[in-house]
Amino acid sequence: MKGGKLTPDQIQGHWRKTSRLMWTLMILWAFFSFVVHVFARQLNEIVIAGFPMGFYMAAQGSLIAFVVLCFYNAYAQDKIDAEFGVHEE
């Protein structure tokens, strides 16, 4: 990296936004890992294309959400890094 030093403002601003992204993703993670499955029996009453929804969420729905969350994290964190000029050259 050129110039060398990062200012404290850069570091703090960057970390504040990074932390916010982290908490957002952790809440979504907890939702798709636990909350939605708590209601599996109720969701199973709804059947779409042969899939009872409670079963579907555990077998497929949450998994898709995890994949999306991981890619979204990479994308959003890149934007934050660029915004504060702390990305890799």
Binding site: G4, R41, F55, A58
Partner: protein, 600 residues
């Protein structure tokens, strides 16, 4: 892959693995033709598959041989995100995922989905909380981080202890899996097969270390995913007229529900948290959620996975490669429930309630293999009832080619896939253990003056010794192997998750806090495991011991928190170090007093 044209190799990865995949498919077709024209009998075709694939891995391992420390430990940090994702996929998915998981879903129905969820969702934690920061830190092992963050070798040693106990139980299970597949397809005794399989494991990792393991794991991922998808896609196309089994099995679930009513099965396949009668069970509910939590946190704490993210060129690519990892893992895990549903439909409609004398051919074939499928006509009426059929869960994946009416060549392919899955995981684990012993214990704690050459010799000797001990242990067929795998997750989760996450996300975490917290969490987890399993201790709140991290984890976090607040805050230098690993740009500011030597 020779040292002089590394750059060429990395920039040509797409072409190289494209040719490899094409070559492999050509090989499968060639074997198919041999079978069609009956050139050899099936047993020889099975041999060809096993030796051909191990031969490829050995070739890659030999081409990746290296005499450089950073190549040996972190593949020179040149592995692009996409390929690191594939390598992580192979590293992650073991024989249990490939062969046993679909069977577990067949037997357990909804209950089995806890594994599907638990073994995928952890990657969100890896990508958000850990991987990019560990990559920025940029040394060789997970204990390296603990040592730099928590003041030296005490923390390092605690990390090595947790790493060793978790990874060793896990690797024994993998060598066990390799032994089972090798003995089944080569027709040799299990104890010998463990050692034959070991040769397959060592050819990938001995010469090239992490570099060799990385490039073989990519090759192994391609084989295992092709092998897993072909039979089930074929079955879905021929039976449901739709080549995407993950969507088509909704139809199968519907038919299963109808057959369950007809056969008088009380616990439906899709029923959540159900007891044997299909009613809601609080115990099942609690354990389902607890298992998901422990497996997910364990995913984010197992060093053989975390160290894969040390190998990418940049922090940015480390994050992206977590996305690719879970995508490649997802391809297999969201297919497993389709396997289970198709198999259940086949068995409920074509096997149960049929004349025993006129069962489908695949049933008869598997009856001949000891312990896989047994039929006992208890009431001697010549008709098979549900209770009269016992099947081993491994059969669901292994028999799918026959159920789908595919030629024997596909069965050989599935065996090669299972072997690839088992070998790749065993490799990653062995390397994690051997690296912790050779780098963290030997180099960092015993002989800091050892030359690069000597370090690499020690690393390889330790790799050999650990591998041999694992094979010997597996050869004794220790009981409860599947349970041991889940234990490994709990041990890693309880011991490593808190110090790693808090070390990055909470600057106030002190050396004493982390070390005491780590040992407390690990200790509680181990106590619960050993107590409930071997000393008849009562379960706490009905939680099964495969989820013991449920107790160790909060203890680790609370103890770390409280002790940290009771001890003086980390120094200014330490805080600067943490700041420096939180951003991708700039140098890492190691703290001099801790472990601030320059790595070669």
């Amino acid at each position: 892959m020779a040292t002089q044209n590394k750059g060429d190799f990395i920039s040509n990865l797409g072409r190289i693995y494209g040719i490899y995949t094409g070559g492999f498919i050509g090989f499968v077709i060639f074997i198919g033709l041999l079978e069609y024209f009956k050139v050899f009998d099936n047993k020889i075709l099975g041999y060809l598959f096993i030796f051909m694939t191990i031969g490829i891995y050995a070739l890659i391992g030999w081409l990746s041989r290296t005499a450089q420390i950073s190549e040996y430990y972190v593949a020179g940090r040149r592995v692009p995100a996409f390929y690191n994702g594939m390598a992580t996929g192979a590293d992650w998915m073991s024989a249990a995922s490939f062969i046993s998981m679909a069977g577990g879903l067949y037997l357990g129905g909804y209950g089995g989905l806890g594994y599907v969820l638990g073994w995928t969702g952890g990657y969100v934690l890896v990508g958000v909380l850990l991987a990019p920061y560990l990559r920025k830190f940029g040394q060789y092992t997970v204990p390296d981080f603990l040592s730099a963050r928590y003041g030296g070798n005490t923390a390092r040693l605690c990390g090595v202890i947790v790493l060793f106990s978790a990874s060793f139980t896990y690797v024994v299970a993998q060598v066990f899996g390799v032994g089972i597949i090798t003995s089944r397809f080569l027709g040799i005794p299990f104890e010998i097969a463990c050692f034959v399989g070991l040769v397959g494991i060592l050819v990938c990792s001995m010469l090239g270390g992490m570099r060799g393991v990385t490039w073989t794991q990519v090759a192994q991922y391609i084989i295992l995913i092709v092998a897993y998808l072909i039979p089930v896609v074929w079955l879905s196309t021929t039976k449901f007229g739709f080549p995407i089994p993950e969507l088509a099995y909704g139809q199968a679930l519907k038919e299963i529900a109808a057959l369950e009513q007809k056969l008088g099965i009380l616990k439906p396949h899709v029923a959540a948290f159900a007891d044997a009668k299909g009613a809601f069970s609080m115990v099942e509910f609690k354990n389902f959620l607890a298992l998901i939590l422990c497996l997910m946190i364990g995913t984010a704490s197992l060093p053989h996975i975390l160290m894969r993210y040390f190998t990418t060129p940049t922090v940015r690519e480390a994050r992206l490669s977590v996305g690719w990892s879970i995508f490649f893992i997802f391809l297999l895990y969201f297919t497993a429930p389709a396997y289970a549903a198709f198999a259940k439909l086949e068995i409920y409609s074509e096997v149960i309630g049929q004349q025993i004398s006129s069962l489908p051919a695949w049933v008869k074939n598997w009856q001949a293999v000891a312990g896989m499928l047994t039929i006992k006509d208890a009431n001697n009426d010549g008709i098979l009832q549900l209770a009269e059929l016992t099947i081993n869960q491994d059969i669901i994946v292994l028999s799918m080619p026959e159920v789908a009416g595919l030629p024997y060549v596909i069965s050989g392919l599935v065996a090669a896939g299972g072997l690839a899955a088992a070998l790749s995981t065993a490799d990653g684990l062995l390397l994690a253990i051997a690296n912790a012993l050779s780098h963290d214990v030997y180099y960092e704690m015993i002989d800091r003056k050892a030359s690069a050459q000597k370090r690499l010799i020690v690393a390889r000797v330790i790799l050999l010794v650990v591998a041999a001990i694992a094979a010997l242990t597996a050869g004794t067929r220790p009981s409860g192997i599947i349970q041991m795998v889940a234990w490994a997750f709990s041990l890693a989760a309880a011991g490593l998750f808190a110090p790693l996450v808090m070390g990055i996300w909470w600057k106030r975490t002190t050396n004493a806090g982390a070390i005491i917290g780590m040992m407390a969490g690990f200790g509680v987890c181990l106590f619960y495991l050993v107590g409930t399993r071997y000393f008849g201790m009562a379960e706490w709140w009905g939680i099964r011991n495969i989820s013991s991290a449920l107790f160790g984890l909060p203890v680790a976090f609370i103890v770390t928190y409280v002790v940290s607040l009771m001890t003086p805050a980390p120094s200014k230098e330490m805080q600067d170090f943490i700041d420096s690993i939180r951003v991708p740009a700039g140098d890492v500011k190691l703290v001099a007093a801790a472990d601030a030597h320059k790595l070669d």
